[in-house]
């Protein structure tokens, strides 16, 4: 896990959430901007996951390894699911669905970091 990447992921996740809420407020569906932001978020999450897996293989083991891995892998699905699902929603609530996904990622990545940093304790 990289703390810098966690910060990047958090910012991107909040941007996705803000964009989603914006399109709901403007009574619009989600568009290209949302897709790009969700894509960047997903890319950052993949880099983070690869990094963490490399460190896990290298011998770093958080105390609750199984929970950590579950969070690490399931968080990868959230932006994809959120983006796909908001694309198929024709009402203005499409953006809110994506915003929920963004906020969930923000929470999950911090929970991940928390589990990871318990290593030395």
């Amino acid at each position: 896990m990289s703390t810098t990447l966690v910060a990047v992921v958090t910012v991107l996740a909040l941007v996705v959430a803000a964009l989603g809420i914006t399109s709901t407020l403007l009574r619009r569906r989600t568009g290209l901007v949302h897709l790009v932001a969700a894509g960047l978020l997903e890319a950052a999450l993949v880099v983070q996951a690869v990094l963490a897996v490399v460190q896990l293989v290298g011998g770093t083991r958080p105390p609750e390894t199984s929970t950590f891995v579950a969070y690490l892998l399931s968080v990868l699905l959230i932006p994809v699911a959120g983006a796909l699902w908001s694309r198929t929603e024709p009402t203005r609530w499409a953006g809110t669905v994506l915003a929920v996904a963004g906020l969930v990622v923000a929470v999950m990545i911090w929970r991940c970091l928390q589990l990871w940093e318990a290593t030395g304790a």
Binding site: R28, R29, S66, T67, P90, T91, W93, T96, V97
Partner: protein, 161 residues
């Protein structure tokens, strides 16, 4: 579905104008937000319960079983909202009611008798570990169901049979 013609200038980036929410069942519009939240909570509570029950069930059996029950309730609600129709709405009403009673009961008990809940559940302290979303969800769900049932029943006329 409406035509998917080219978006007008400036429409593409932030999305095309939305359709009104009216003609949908419980799965559309704000309902989709509820389905998303319920699905996330079903997964979160379920995964958590699975790990805890598998690794150290003896530590706090009541809390872990409760987490498992909560995840099933969330799943039923998510499916109920997503499927809609009379059966879906009825399932969602039952799930949301159980959930509301559960979060209130466990909330009170976890504060009154912390010893019974050595490890937190989604419903402990009225869901404070999860930003009180577990407390807000069933209320929002029931309000949405009431709203939807009212508008849908109006449009359907007398029920058959």
């Amino acid at each position: 579905m409406p035509d998917r013609g080219d978006p007008g200038p400036g429409d593409g980036a932030l999305g095309r104008p939305a359709e009104p929410t009216d003609a949908q069942d419980t799965s559309g519009g704000p309902g989709r937000v509820l389905v998303a939240l319920y699905a996330v909570f079903a997964l979160a509570a379920g995964a958590r319960a699975a790990v805890q029950i598998a690794l150290d069930f003896a530590e706090a059996p009541l809390a872990y079983v409760l987490s498992a029950v909560a995840s099933v309730v969330y799943l039923v609600a998510a499916i109920g909202f997503a499927r809609g129709g009379r059966a879906g709405r009825r399932a969602a009403v039952v799930a949301c009611s159980v959930e509301l009673v559960g979060v209130l009961t466990v909330g009170v008990l976890s504060l009154a008798d912390p010893a019974a809940f050595p490890d937190a559940t989604v419903w402990s302290g009225f869901g404070q570990g999860y930003g009180f979303i577990p407390l807000a969800l069933p209320v929002l769900g029931l309000l949405w169901l009431r709203h939807r049932s009212a508008t849908l029943d109006e449009g359907q006329g007398p029920a058959p049979g």
